[in-house]
Symmetry: C2
Subunit: 338 residues, 2 copies
């Protein structure tokens, strides 16, 4: 799919979705839209990303595209009026427009009319399908290996870990796919459901449906986790994914040195071994799954301490560990999960 990714005034640091699509997406990204850095190349800013031109608006893109992707998600998820011209232009050229905002594009009268007129589709990935139902407890029966990335908090790298495990498995020739459960993962993968937006009765059922469907086409599924099972606010989403996906193996993701829940600092994070045991205890009655590998985000540490943090996390879990971004997913980690 040939796409342009909109990231005005945000690339790279505040454009998590755009960076994720460039790093992990199967899209053919022809241009990045950012009026602040227009004229540069993506690789000028993030060396390991594909070398894509940055332009000021869709008018500067000559290629024929399939879609424009809104690759920035401001706090609150509102649509920024300064994006309006590019979305309008995309629809006029017949391109689909894909976004993960709280404000749904399809609810915008002008966009809806333009989309209808030009045969384009407005895809709001945060909008759940309207035919969801409760889980039937069937995900454990699928004919695929199911790995699930879980965490000690939000923002511990569960999505990144999922895509890195997928890529390491693909390098070994395994037909692997991520089952995305959050808006960035869904935008990157180009399918999936944002589980925290599903009504709680149907959250496990939404995950079950994704796992059952994806298992038809792949041999290894890596289900992206959300939140944390002992998070004061998001544990329900976490639990729904764990029991809806019924995984075979868990990967525990942690930020090196973090001791309290982000934004909820009066709540301590249990030590990694206890946290792994809690996930395993919750998985067991529905479908037993052990924490077979660990992923540590060491981005706050220098090289030496980063290695130490990985080793210490592996010791605590009694399982192989890595920082998937810094050190890659090595054979020991991948072997443990397969």
């Amino acid at each position: 799919m040939q796409v342009a990714v909109l990231a005005h005034e945000s690339f790279p640091d505040r454009a998590k979705t755009a960076v994720g699509i460039l790093r992990y997406g199967d899209h053919d990204v022809r241009a990045l839209l950012d009026r602040d850095t227009a004229g540069d190349r993506v690789s000028d800013h993030v060396p390991d990303l594909p070398d894509v031109p940055i332009v000021a608006s869709l008018d500067d893109v000559e290629d024929d595209l399939d879609a424009l992707i809104v690759g920035v998600a401001p706090i609150g998820g509102a649509f920024d009026p300064s994006w309006r011209d590019d979305v309008r232009r995309a629809l006029e050229r017949g391109y689909d427009v894909i976004a993960g905002l709280h404000d749904f594009l399809a609810d915008d009268e002008e966009f809806a009319a333009l989309a209808a007129e030009h045969g384009a589709e407005l895809q709001d990935v945060r909008r759940p399908p309207d035919d969801l139902s409760v889980s039937e407890g069937r995900a454990g029966d699928v004919d695929a290996r199911v790995v699930h990335t879980v965490g000690t908090d939000c923002s511990t790298g569960k999505m990144t870990a999922a895509f890195e495990v997928r890529d390491a498995a693909r390098e070994r020739g395994i037909d692997a796919a991520v089952v995305p459960t959050g808006q960035t993962g869904v935008m990157i993968a180009g399918w999936g459901m944002v589980v925290d937006r599903v009504i709680s009765d149907f959250a496990a059922g939404a995950v079950e449906r994704m796992v059952v469907d994806a298992a038809e086409d792949h041999d290894l599924l890596v289900v992206e986790g959300q939140g944390a099972i002992a998070h004061p606010a998001y544990s329900g989403v976490t639990t729904s994914i764990l029991h809806g996906a019924m995984p075979d193996a868990l990967v525990l993701c942690h930020v090196a040195g973090q001791e309290t829940v982000h934004g909820y600092e009066s709540f301590e994070i249990p030590d990694p071994a206890s946290y792994a045991t809690l996930y395993e205890a919750m998985a067991a009655p529905v479908r037993p799954a052990d924490v077979l590998a660990g992923m540590v985000n060491t981005s706050g540490l220098d090289e030496g301490p980063a290695h130490e943090a990985v080793e210490s996390f592996a010791d605590e879990l009694a399982a192989p560990a890595t920082d998937p971004v810094r050190f890659g997913v090595d054979d020991a980690v991948l072997d443990a999960l397969l």
Copy 2:
């Protein structure tokens, strides 16, 4: 509040909400509407319920009421056209109409117009408020004792246990209230939120809001649980309530002799002691709470085996237990929770 309760062709066995309102509600029920048993008295059918006349339609009710409550919830939660005359008549007389159906009364054009014309309110208790947000982790700070009924499955008597604990505490002079989280509980209590209808991101936040608000007015809160923490489909709702409510004590509810999850018979229910340990392990990192009492539904057993089932459950939990409907909430159970 003076009310009539609609339970056409359903009283008493298929009218769980009507029976609950009659047994636990603070409403002054002036009449029950059931065209099948019209002319009888409620106590002809269920001896321990209040002696209320059963009539065929609202036309047979001469009292001036505040509301008509739809006290029957058919599978699927659809509005039955045969109820339309009574709802219409109630609105014409200026009464509010309260229902917990999936079909919202307020979305019915005729009802909405009649309600507006006669100054009546259509209350759809399954519709969540539109200003919900994520939990802030504050429920643990409230100035009230918080007890939470949890279960080994759906339909184990968690709502009944909550109201029975409330009533036993009230008899002792304690200002106690139930925090209702399901549609029947909400209909009975006349307030609350149906948590399984809340989007999963906000489920814990909805419970937190209810607990914080109710703690302003009461000394003991009994938070009604939903589902079960190891249920393949509903565990997310259960977890959201546990962490949103941040209780001080747990009551484990179980159906005597049940060994597999209802409707999910390939899933075994962990033994009661293990299940209690799992709830405690999940509560601990957010706010420690132990299972301090057990409630067994023994309705399928004769008197002797029922006593044995209660004793055996108490032994397994190492905590006092009872069947709250059959044997009442005794001092040992109540003392353990306070």
